[in-house]
């Protein structure tokens, strides 16, 4: 009996020693490499939130990145900063991309991380505007060259109208709410949070025409053409941190809304209005090519871009990194080089 007890004690002690050794072995990670610096030109609006959340939750640090977020009001200046070399990666909607493509500036879309139907036209009801067709001949404020500009074209053309049927008033997005409230324009075409700010400014006098399914904007991550080849691991870590932030946003909806409200200086209710119009997901869809080409044709038709041959936007897509991270998320059919 004593022998068997001693034997059991010996066996238990041996198992504990082995487990302790294995635990020490498994938990002993190699010293992490120093964080890799990365400058991201971010937009201070709802579509930029995944990056601010990733920074706030420490996902960048977890992935070994030391990310510097440049704060830009919307995608167009962010893209321009990247193109000037002030940032490694920029987040922007598809419209600034097509304008940049006409300048033959070499860059690549490495992923789109969010699609949204947040765009809308906010009009003054006191100007007798009840439906989109009532916009004929009205003064519409818009930020020229942005996705809101193309969105306005979609909304008008769906109703058989053209840009020529209305009077476009170029107004920077942050100033649109004030201009609408002051009556300098009858309506504005914009994206959140400016649409919300405009509705709030008009109080009960606002009438909105949301994009619905007629226009879906793509929020893209853009880098210089060779960036993915030069620093593929940095891009991979950036995409992985972004993916974690997106998952966190899905799993912590209210916390994400509260954080966005604080970050953008908005009320929570205002953020919630638009929140469900955002569909965060890392992907490279065929729809992006469709949209880029459609917007390119539009830009050439209205003279915002030189009438030239349609750029091959497959050349502006770099799916190499995303294919490693989420191969099922790449649905763009890339032709053979």
């Amino acid at each position: 009996m004593i022998h068997s007890r001693s034997f059991l004690v010996s066996v238990a002690a041996s198992i504990l020693i082995i487990l302790a050794t294995l635990t020490v072995f498994w938990t002993r990670k190699p010293a992490p490499p120093p964080p890799e610096p990365l400058v991201v030109a971010a937009t201070v609006n709802l579509i930029g939130m995944p990056f601010f959340i990733a920074e706030q939750q420490g996902f960048f640090a977890d992935e070994g990145l030391r990310v510097t977020l440049q704060r830009h009001p919307f995608g167009k200046p962010a893209l321009e900063a990247m193109l000037r070399g002030e940032a490694d990666v920029a987040m922007t909607a598809e419209t600034p991309i097509i304008f940049a493509s006409f300048k033959e500036t070499p860059f690549s879309v490495i992923a789109h991380y969010m699609t949204s139907t947040e765009h809308s036209i906010v009009a003054r009801a006191d100007r007798g505007i009840r439906q989109v067709t009532d916009l004929r001949g009205r003064r519409i404020g818009v930020s020229i060259g942005t996705s809101a500009h193309y969105f306005l074209h979609v909304m008008l053309s769906d109703q058989g109208l053209t840009i020529a049927d209305v009077e476009l008033v170029p107004i920077p997005a942050p100033d649109q709410a004030a201009a609408l409230a002051a009556g300098r324009v009858d309506a504005i075409a914009a994206f959140a949070p400016h649409t919300t700010q405009s509705r709030v400014a008009l109080q009960g006098n606002a009438i909105s025409f949301p994009a619905g399914i007629r226009y879906t904007g793509f929020s893209c991550l853009v880098a210089s053409r060779d960036f993915s080849q030069r620093r593929p691991e940095a891009v991979l870590r950036l995409l992985r941190a972004t993916d974690r932030a997106i998952t966190w946003m899905r799993d912590h909806r209210q916390e994400a809304i509260d954080f966005s409200a604080r970050e953008l200086g908005m009320k929570v209710a205002e953020v919630e209005e638009t929140w469900d119009a955002l569909r965060p997901a890392l992907a490279l869809n065929q729809a992006l090519i469709f949209l880029l080409e459609a917007e390119a044709r539009w830009a050439m038709n209205i003279g915002l871009a030189p009438a030239a041959a349609m750029p091959n936007y497959l050349d502006y897509i770099d799916a190499s990194v995303l294919s490693r991270l989420r191969p099922e998320a790449v649905s763009i059919i890339q032709g053979k080089p």
């Binding site: 769906d158 065929q286 729809a287 459609a294 099922e328 649905s331």
Partner: protein, 643 residues
């Protein structure tokens, strides 16, 4: 815990383990079945989405009723399928956020497709703006494509779930099998430990005990029924062994007792026989002087007084009423513990013969140490007394004869002395005359004598001198065996030194070295010992005459337990084969012209040593010197001899 409780516990544990394992397996199996159903549904959804995409393309190309209806039918199928699917899968996939997002996306895309297709088909009657229609068509194509791709992603997830469920099922099955196997082994081990082994031990114990190993015990430390059974078994063996051992011990004691009785009887018989037939008169009495045992010799010796009547049990004093009082007093002393021995007691018998007796009266003791009576021992020593008287008579006669012979010997010695003196004295005178007249003739008439005559005269002188030496030697030899032998302390070292110095003085040209051990003292006749030492030293001196670096040593040594005194030299030595001739008179081992001598010295030495009671021995080898060792009795030995 007893066996019954243990059995119940094991049964319950077994049921519990089997139930848990089976439940886990069934749960996993159900999950797998659920996933398999979902795969079927997702496959159906995928087929419908692809068919919708096909009819949509057909409709966009031809804008006819048939493809429109087909597309609408497919949209309707998808709608219903997705509605059912959602209800069925939400519960299952609630934990999978990614799947939920994809299902939401499918629903959204389907809704978009429905809206866009409805928008497109509603414009058949009223054509829409071309760009708007084109955009709607594009959006439809993109949405339907996204729908298919998203369903494909769900398909992959479900397949992944299926593989996982399959893996779980397999793992659970193996776990179940391993669990059942382990359970079986555990049950076997428990059964073996708890039942089979104890039973086997009991079985073996019973066989051993049956074979006679009563000392065997189980000494079980088990608890429960088998432990109690083993303890009871041991206890039973204890009792059986105790009974068996007691019986065996009793039987052994009886046997020992019987043997002791037999031995006692034999001993008594032996004692009786010994007593009866012992060749001496022996009687054993109790405290009242009643006969207990008596030897035949006793009866024979006392037959004149007691006749042939039976005496055992009767009082000695009754049988011999005239026994003197001093004997009764002796008996009383013995009864008080004294032992009385009378070595020589003369008894004059009735017939007038004298008998010498040795009597011993001593007490005998009982086991408790109390004197039980006395034993009287009477031994007839008449024959011994007669033998002693004869010896005494013979001794006296012998002493008388010795005295007579001694007187005769003294007279003979005196005669021999006289003869020796006469020989020496009477022979010396003619020898001196021969030598003296030869010398005178040579001195007075030598000139007239021719050479040969002179030689003859010289030979006469030499022969006379040699004769004289022989006479001296014989006289010395004669004296050595006569006269009183004194036992004085003699300093042998000083004697040897003096004699050696004398030799060196006579022949100073000889380079002889000598070593004399200091402190050599012996007890003997000084004059005779000087004769001994002079002969030995002169011999040594003489026989080293032709030896360079001549050395003479006088020393003592212990040999064979005796103290030997040695005179050794490194001279001519002798052949040991002739050693027995050395000590005989007139026997010489060397030629006269080599080493002159008369051959009496060593004979004289041996006689003197023998007369002292010692011994002498010579060792040597030709050319390697000689050693003479003699012993002399020590003072103690001498004293005994003197006595």
């Amino acid at each position: 815990m007893n066996l019954r409780s243990r059995t119940h516990l094991v049964a319950m544990m077994t049921l519990l383990i089997v139930a848990v394992l089976c439940s886990v397996f069934l749960f996993v199996r159900l999950q797998k079945t659920q996933v398999e159903r979902e795969i079927v549904r997702v496959d159906t959804l995928m087929a419908d989405a692809i068919q919708f995409r096909g009819t949509l393309s057909d409709y966009l190309l031809h804008r006819e009723t048939r493809p429109r209806l087909q597309a609408e039918a497919k949209l309707s199928d998808l709608h219903h399928l997705l509605g059912d699917q959602m209800q069925l899968t939400v519960a299952h996939l609630l934990h999978d956020a990614q799947s939920m997002v994809l299902w939401d996306e499918v629903s959204r895309l389907l809704a978009e497709c429905e809206t866009l297709f409805a928008d497109l088909s509603s414009r058949e009657a009223t054509p829409a703006p071309r760009e708007q229609e084109q955009r709607t068509a594009d959006l439809l194509l993109l949405s339907s494509e996204s729908l298919i791709l998203t369903i494909g992603q769900i398909h992959r997830l479900v397949v992944s779930d299926l593989l996982e469920a399959h893996s779980y099922e397999e793992m659970t099955l193996w776990t179940l099998l391993a669990g059942l196997g382990g359970l079986g082994i555990s049950l076997f081990l428990l059964l073996r430990k708890g039942v089979l082994v104890p039973l086997q031990q009991l079985h073996e114990a019973a066989i051993l005990v049956a074979a006679g190993q009563w000392d065997f015990r189980l000494h079980s430390r088990r608890r429960g029924e088998f432990g109690q059974l083993a303890n009871a078994f041991d206890h039973m063996l204890d009792q059986i062994q105790e009974t068996t051992v007691s019986r065996a011990r009793l039987e052994a004691e009886i046997r020992e007792h019987q043997q002791a009785e037999a031995d006692l009887r034999a001993s008594e018989e032996s004692l009786r026989l010994l007593f009866e037939y012992t060749p001496v008169a022996l009687a054993m009495f109790d405290r009242e002087m009643r006969y207990i045992a008596v030897s035949r010799r006793w009866i024979d010796d006392n037959r004149p007084f007691i006749g042939d009547q039976e005496i055992i049990g009767r009082s000695h004093y009754d049988l011999l009423p005239e026994l003197p009082d001093h004997w009764k007093a002796v008996h009383r002393r013995a009864l008080e513990g004294d032992t009385i021995q009378i070595d020589e007691d003369q008894l004059t018998r009735i017939d007038g013969t004298v008998q010498w007796l040795r009597r011993v009266v001593l007490p005998w003791y009982k086991d408790n140490g109390v004197i039980g009576g006395i034993v009287i021992f009477v031994d007839d020593i008449t024959a011994r007394q007669q033998a002693e008287a004869e010896v005494h008579r013979l001794n006296t006669e012998l002493e008388e004869r010795v005295g007579q012979r001694t007187a005769e010997l003294v007279a003979a010695n005196q005669e021999l002395d006289s003869f020796a003196y006469a020989v020496s004295h009477d022979l010396r005178a003619p020898l001196r005359a021969m030598s003296g007249f030869s010398q005178a003739l040579l001195e007075d008439y030598g000139e007239r004598l021719d050479g040969e005559a002179k030689i003859y005269l010289d030979q006469i002188i030499i022969a006379s001198r040699h004769m004289s030496e022989l006479v001296d030697g014989l006289l010395t030899l004669s004296r050595s065996t006569r006269g009183e032998l004194r036992r004085d302390l003699v300093d042998l070292t000083a004697l040897a030194e003096r004699l050696l110095m004398d030799q060196a003085t006579v022949e100073p040209e000889r380079p002889v070295s000598w070593q004399v051990e200091p402190g050599l003292c012996v007890r003997g006749d000084p004059v005779m010992l000087e004769v001994v030492m002079r002969n030995l030293i002169e011999n040594a001196w003489k026989y080293t005459a032709k030896t360079p670096n001549a050395t003479i040593r006088v020393y003592s040594e212990n040999k064979e337990g005796q103290r030997c005194y040695c005179v050794a030299d490194n001279g001519a030595g002798f052949d040991m084969n002739h050693a027995n001739r050395l000590f005989k008179a007139f026997q010489r081992l060397h030629r006269q012209d080599e080493f002159p001598g008369i051959g009496i010295g060593l004979a004289t030495v041996q006689r003197i040593i023998h007369r002292h009671g010692g011994a002498i021995r010579a060792e040597g080898a030709p050319g390697h010197g000689a050693t003479f060792r003699f012993t002399l009795p020590t003072a103690e030995t001498t004293s005994k001899e003197t006595k």
